[in-house]
Structure formats: structure tokens, C-alpha cells
Symmetry: C2
Subunit: 121 residues, 2 copies
């Protein structure tokens, strides 16, 4: 893969934040440093980066892909009211049923839904 200033910027943006931005949020952020960057380029690079497992995607109920620069094994909690995504760094163990069934696991995406402390009042 050839170097590109845009891809490097996009990678830095995702790796540098702890929220879980959508493509458009990353695009907005990228435009601050690279005003001519296009949304297509952002999407193209996000695809490349997630294919290469440099970043992770999160499919949520809001119908937009969220991106996560942290590729370590962890789960997520999503507030159904404010949409905030909270990292859970102590994920539960993989169901024993999986190896019992002879399935080969390459990854997992556990999302818990509910209300965060701010919204549960």
C-alpha cells in the first residue's frame, strides 16, 4: 500500500480519539487539517484500514458504521437515549458452545444496550 497524506491523517484521527466516530465525523475532523479531502476518500481509507485490521468497525442500531482505533479485545455499551458508546475492557469469555460446535472464531462484537448514568435519571 502506497503512502498517502490523507490516509495517515485519517488513521491519526481515529487512533487519537476515544469515542467511536462515524465516517462523517471523521470527515469533518479531517477537513480541519485537510480542507480539500473528500468524503469518498475517507470512506475508501476507512475500508482499507478495517480490511487491514488497523481499525475496527461497529455495526450499531443507528444504521451508521462506527469506527474504533482500539483493536484490542473489548466490548461496547451503547446508550439507547444519547447514543454514547462506552468501552468495556473486561469482555466476557467466549461461549463454550462455540468450540464445542467446532466453530473457528476470528473475532467478536459484543454490544450491550441500555441507559448510561447520565440518561438513567
Amino acid at each position: 500500500m502506497r503512502y498517502s497524506r490523507q490516509r495517515e491523517l485519517i488513521t491519526e484521527i481515529i487512533k487519537g480519539r476515544k469515542d467511536h466516530p462515524t465516517a462523517d465525523m471523521i470527515y469533518q475532523s479531517a477537513r480541519e487539517l485537510e480542507p480539500n479531502i473528500s468524503l469518498g476518500t475517507v470512506y475508501r481509507n476507512l475500508k482499507l484500514l478495517s480490511d487491514d485490521k488497523v481499525i475496527i468497525t461497529l455495526e450499531t442500531e443507528d444504521k451508521r458504521l462506527h469506527y474504533d482505533g482500539d483493536t484490542s479485545r473489548h466490548s461496547h455499551f451503547i446508550c439507547s437515549k444519547c447514543g454514547k458508546i462506552i468501552d468495556l475492557f473486561k469482555p466476557s469469555e467466549t461461549p463454550s458452545e462455540i468450540k464445542e460446535a467446532g466453530l473457528f472464531v476470528t473475532g467478536e462484537k459484543c454490544v450491550y444496550y441500555g441507559y448510561c448514568t447520565d440518561c438513567n435519571n
Copy 2:
């Protein structure tokens, strides 16, 4: 909610199968008994049914919503090659971190990715 033949049919279809069909698959199936049913009606009712928690939605990497008539607590395994979705009826327990953080959980969606026994050869 008023009765409709179409909604009843859609509910029966989802409850009657053990795979995790997309809206279009349900539409194709529904047309066999109700040839004039429209895709819009299928989508409208799927939304109603999932809002009422009569069925469950599964957001997957294939960018289409999958529907599940089984609303009991369970997880899923998705084969990255053939796309098959396998139910895991012994889900792992909710991370302790959640209650420690004071979060209020209403639901969970745990998806494991990998290769099924057919595709791992």
C-alpha cells in the same frame, strides 16, 4: 394495533424459520402466499414487530438487517465465508464492568465471527 393479514403472515414466517432472514428474504417468502404484498409493507411491519419486541434485529457486517423470531436471550455466530448465522443458546454472562459502572442494561447483541465447520476445510 389493528389486525392485518399481511402482518400475521410476516410474523408467522419469521417465527417459523430458524435462520435469520433479511427483509427481502421475508418478502420473497411472503409473496408465495400473498403475491400482492409489497416490500414496503414488509419493512413497515418488521419495524412494528421489532419495536414491539415481537422479533429481534441483528446488525451484521453485510449491511442488511437480519430478523430473528426468537426473542430469548442468545448470541450468534456468523460465518465470514458463507454468511450462515448460528444460534448460541448459552450466551456468556454480562460483563461485571457494566453494573460496576452503574449502567442500566436493557439488551445485548453478541456476535462472534469466524468460519463454520463447512467452510473451515
